[in-house]
């Protein structure tokens, strides 16, 4: 594995790590986060009845 391979791998792992964190952990209680319909919604439990 060359240095370039290491850098590419590190970048890809970092990006994937961030995606997983924001998608599945940080916003796990609000799966509609980022949706254009309620992206400015400030009520934390807006998706609940």
């Amino acid at each position: 594995m060359t240095l370039t391979d290491g850098i590419i791998l590190a970048i890809v792992v970092l990006i994937i790590g961030l995606i997983i964190y924001f998608r599945f952990f940080k916003n796990r209680k609000n799966p509609c986060a980022g949706c254009e319909y309620c992206k400015k919604c400030q009520k934390k439990d807006c998706h609940k009845k």
Binding site: L3, T4, D5, I8, C35, E36, Y37, K39, K40, K49
Partner: protein, 660 residues
């Protein structure tokens, strides 16, 4: 100061909220756009303003009405801006009379005042203010007129006190005052009325004395107490209108003329069909042909550049493949469709903001009713054409539980924006000149499937009556360019963000499982890869609709559960690694892994992906609205079952046609 924005549906609350705060909440020229409260700060002040869902009264029948009532009643705002549609004041003032019973100052904002002249109406705002004992301001939230005056009025505290004007007949007023005297609480007049109406929310405050008063009034008027109160409210509202609103000689407006065409018994449906065909023809056909090749070429050039550059900096073949065949091919395959989506978003937004969607809901109400749904169900279907998640969430406007559940299960059938890449890819390649027609046909197939499914559900599972659909038809309006651009940008950005996040993640996983074997050896033949072996175990499921045991199509369809765009992205990555192609059109190269597709299997595969279980985000929304995992699983199984059966039928019929 904490200000609540309260008004009927489609009275322009969100537009006023956006104008006052400089925000960009979703707005639309149809009822039920806001389904939850939104908070912001009035520009240039410290005042907090809360946009509440539209309501017709403070008697909560739907969850949004409950949200609005609870906020106004329990969180006690310092001021209520009651936004009233100036062109139909009679309907709006019913809610005003209820708000004036609260212990809170109220400003009446007469919105759409700019349309009064067109409707040959004149409102005497001073007279209205003196009759209601409340401050009145004429505004146009869309054009921004009167907003400065409204903010100045609030800022300078020049708002009239609310003296609780008497609006009922003497005996009813006496009963209300008697009850109010015994209540040591805020909003005592409002609560007294509710106690007389026997509102369940205040059951703990009921007494025999109140019951006796109610009985006495009901006997006197020979009617139900709620009816007595509502009637006297309306009598008051009619009287106020009579004194404040002058109607000049009525001239037929543009709305009247357009409605004669768009709501014509015979022409309405054909016009709707033509409009939907035109939208898909424009988005998938005209723009599709012109832009996909261009964007595809750009992605191809970028891919070649990265491939050469990475090789020049000593990257190993696997690292080059990860970036080029995995990430760029996967994400690029989805980004190809952005220009088409922009056209689709513009068209849908135009239909929403001009007021045409409300006409369609109104017109289709009768048809939907025959199938166990109502015009109310149409709103989630329209919203769902952008994204199924808000579509499912907007079912909260449906009071009837059975109808709501049916709508939740059926809303994901409408082709959402994430499904457009699937339609565009297959229709563009296999149906060439007829791609617009084929794309639109899928939309109508979705409508027919919804109606037939609703009929079956109604017959066997949900046997109650459909709820009534009451909605006022808004004026036709020219779309506001600023809102249109914002709306289209928000939706497009949301799509691009998905491509850069979840699609990228899936593309890397696909690349990994395609490039490695179970023994984690790199560079194996794709037929021996991890993904191929998983796909081969499940490919029999799709055999009846593809006529081929294809592991590639199988794993791509299953990935639609993560995000529907991923079907296209996955096919691009698989074709790239298996057939060494990078351009979208070459996915279906005759000798390639997807070379077996023909028009029949292509249409069947599109149908399956369109109607099968939606993405995880939408399944999550279904779970929240349906309330239980069991009901959600039933809904998912139902959707996938319908999709599989339809896919098989389409393939069978299509194969027969091809034989002929």
């Amino acid at each position: 100061m904490r200000i609540a924005l309260v008004g009927n549906q489609n009275s322009g609350k969100s537009t006023l909220f956006n104008t006052m705060t400089g925000d960009n909440q979703k707005i639309g020229n149809w009822p039920g756009v806001t389904i939850d409260r939104k908070e912001g700060t009035v520009k240039g002040t410290n005042h907090t303003i809360v946009d509440l869902p539209g309501i017709y009264s403070l008697s909560p029948y739907t969850s949004e009405e409950e949200i609005s009532r609870n906020f106004v009643f329990e969180e006690r705002p310092d001021l209520i801006i009651n936004i009233v549609d100036a062109t139909s004041i009679e309907r709006s003032l019913y809610l005003t009379t209820q708000l004036l019973e609260l212990d809170c100052k109220v400003i009446l904002a007469l919105n759409m005042s700019d349309l009064l002249e067109k409707k040959s109406l004149v409102i005497d705002e001073e007279k209205l203010s003196s009759l209601l004992h409340t401050s009145v301001v004429k505004i146009s939230a869309l054009k921004g007129s009167g907003i400065d005056e409204l903010i100045k009025l609030i800022d300078e505290g020049r708002i009239l006190d609310n003296p609780h004007k008497k609006i009922y007949q003497e005996d009813l007023e006496e009963a209300i005052e008697d009850i109010a005297k015994g209540l040591e609480m805020v909003h005592s007049r409002f609560v007294s009325v509710k106690l007389l109406e026997n509102d369940v929310k205040f059951a703990s405050l009921q007494s025999k004395d109140i019951e006796a008063k109610r009985h006495q009034l009901e006997q006197k008027y020979n009617s139900d107490i709620e009816e007595i109160i509502a009637n006297q409210r309306y009598e008051y509202v009619v009287e106020v209108k009579k004194q404040c609103v002058v109607k000049k000689e009525y001239k037929e407006t543009i709305t009247d003329k357009l409605d004669k065409v768009f709501l014509n018994k015979w022409a309405a449906l054909p016009i709707f069909v033509v409009i939907m065909f035109a939208i898909y023809f424009l988005a998938v056909g005209v723009v599709g042909s012109a832009t996909v090749d261009f964007v595809d070429g750009l992605v191809g050039k970028f891919s070649d550049f990265m491939s050469e550059w990475l090789a020049s900096v000593n990257a190993s073949p696997w690292a080059v493949s990860l970036v080029v065949d995995g990430i760029i091919a996967g994400v690029g395959a989805v980004l190809n469709f952005v220009p088409q989506l922009i056209i689709l978003f513009i068209c849908i937004c135009l239909l929403e903001t001009t007021g045409y969607m409300s006409r369609i809901a109104f017109f289709l109400d009768r048809l939907f009713k025959k199938f166990g749904l109502s015009g109310k169900s149409l709103i989630p279907f329209i919203v769902g054409s952008g994204c199924a998640v808000p579509g499912i969430m907007s079912t909260r406007t449906i009071e009837d539980e059975d109808e709501k559940r049916m709508t939740i299960m059926l809303a994901p059938f409408i082709p959402c924006s994430a499904k457009l890449p699937i339609i565009a890819l297959f229709a563009g390649f296999f149906f060439d000149r007829y791609n617009g027609l084929v794309s639109a046909s899928l939309y109508f197939l979705a409508v027919v499937t919804i109606l037939i499914s609703a009929l079956i559900m109604k017959k066997f599972f949900f046997k109650g009556d459909s709820s009534a659909f009451i909605s006022e038809l808004p004026e036709y309006k020219l779309p506001n360019l600023k809102y249109l651009l914002r709306d289209v940008w928000d939706k497009t950005f949301s799509f691009i963000k998905r491509a850069g996040t979840i699609i990228l993640l899936c593309s890397v996983i696909i690349w990994f499982t395609l490039s490695f074997s179970w023994k984690f050896q790199y560079g194996v033949d794709v037929e021996d890869s991890i993904l191929a072996s998983i796909g081969k175990c499940l490919s029999w499921i799709f055999y009846p609709m593809l006529g081929e045991l294809s592991w590639g199509a199988t794993v791509s369809a299953i990935q639609g559960l993560v995000a529907k765009e991923q079907v296209v992205s996955s096919m691009a990555v698989i074709a790239g690694l298996a057939d060494d192609v990078t351009e979208g059109a070459l996915i279906f190269s005759q000798t390639g892994i997807f070379g077996f597709f023909n028009p029949a299997s292509a249409y069947a595969f599109m149908v399956f992906n369109l109607f099968s279980a939606p993405c995880f985000g939408a399944i999550g929304a279904m779970r929240r609205e349906l309330g239980t995992t069991k009901k959600t699983l039933i809904a998912v199984a139902f959707q996938t079952g319908v999709a599989w059966i339809l896919g098989c039928i389409v393939f069978g019929i299509g194969s027969l046609i091809m034989l002929l």
